[in-house]
Amino acid sequence: MTNTPDPGRVVIVGAGQGGLQAAISLRQEGHTGPITLIGDEPGLPYQRPPLSKAYLKTGVADQLTLRPESFFEKKDITLRPGLRVDRIDRENRQVVAGFEVLDYDQLILATGTRNLRPPIPGVERALGLRTLPDARALRDALDTPQRVAVIGGGFIGLEFAAVARALGHTVHVAEAAPRLISRVISPEMSARFRCLHDSLGTVLHLGNGVSDVSGGGLVLSDGTELAADLILLAAGVRPNTELAEAAGLMVDNGIVVDTRLRTEDPHIYALGDCAVFPDPATGRPVRLESVQAATDHARAIAKTIVHDAADPYAAVPWFWSDQADWKLQIAGLATASDDSVPVGEDTVLRFAGNRLTAVECINNAKIHMKARRLLAQPDVPTRDMLARETYDLTSF
């Protein structure tokens, strides 16, 4: 039992994996007050990661549902799907959604991201891949032979490209940066993925962005014309910060929160893809697009709300991507300028000076899990220490 005052009514805006996890964790931590989970999409909360992976292959949507309807009744969580919140009234602690006004004592913003639509002529012709209807439309299109063009050589674009190739379609990927997944992984790992997609028969156009989509395909910045029946726009996302911004909360590449995931308003938290929080390892503000951040943030916020827990958020980031039969796993968080030390063909350690920042590996659960445990320790092995063991993480 704690002496924390009753946290009262909790409203969660955003019913993705993070928003749902916040509701689940609040109940697990013993919160007994009302919980309302508001999502602008219809239906039950579902997993997004499989939309560009397993779902595209199997088309089984049931497996995506995170929790059945009965779960919400059992846990006394009021799910409000298909409801869009228009504004937050901080003074009266209310959210306004159409004609409805909901009172809150604690508000959690889990508004996620939306697809970035660069100002390319004809870009409205391109499909996106973010929601279940998006994935369904793409899957239907892949039923007949297609010339597929993907704008963006990041995780989503490449996961989709791998599935489309496996189904026998012609696939081109255009990426403005000189290498694949350049925002997230090392040049060495990018090169490995270039080999993978080359070997699958996908045609990669690197350092060659898209300048026009208005005709029967893509026109690249070097003038190359690619005919395409199906165009996927996978050029990144932007955080949904408008509600927070209009409410006068600080926004800088996301909703800015402190080490307890709280905005400058002590009654409002933000989590997951839309939140900018202090990286536990460096203190620098970061925004992560991952299941891990969404769910770990959610659990931390629930603890803070229910127990007034003072521990700063400290979870180690992790990410994964499935492309053909390769599973890329990343533990930790590197910046683009970090050094890379390849270990064998399929593992890369990243360092900022003497500090281990991240470990990237392909199809190696052992190294990945070891890295997650090591990075969670207060005394993470340094580059010097690792060098003495020929960078073998399993020696620690």
Partner: protein, 107 residues
């Protein structure tokens, strides 16, 4: 359909029905079993669907799959000889009546 019984750490026993080909994890999630979290949705990226196969069934569920040992090392609760990731156990007619026990914590 195949029957699976989940015995949670507090002794709560729930029997559910699932289709052949489903995983034990998805059977648990579809029926709102609290003791299975399944954060990564069966992608072998976490160990939050950890279960203990009942001794009487351990032979029939077979050995751990590749990578499962490595993931289990990070499980939140004690790992026993009968520990499995429930996302890696696919239900077959042979497993009708399967009993699994759930650990105290998954995260």
């Amino acid at each position: 359909m195949v029957k699976v019984t989940f015995i949670e750490h507090d002794g709560t026993e729930t029997t559910v029905e699932a289709a052949e080909g489903d995983s034990v994890m998805s059977a648990a999630i579809a029926n709102g079993i609290d003791g299975i979290v399944a954060e990564c949705g069966g992608s072998m990226m976490c160990a939050t669907c950890h279960c203990y196969v009942d001794d009487a069934w351990a032979d029939r569920t077979g050995p751990r799959k590749e990578g499962e040992d490595d993931m289990l090392e990070s499980a939140a609760s004690e790992v026993k000889e009968t520990s499995r990731l429930s996302c890696q156990i696919k239900l077959t007619a042979d497993l009708d009546g399967l009993v699994v026990h759930l650990p105290e914590e998954q995260v």
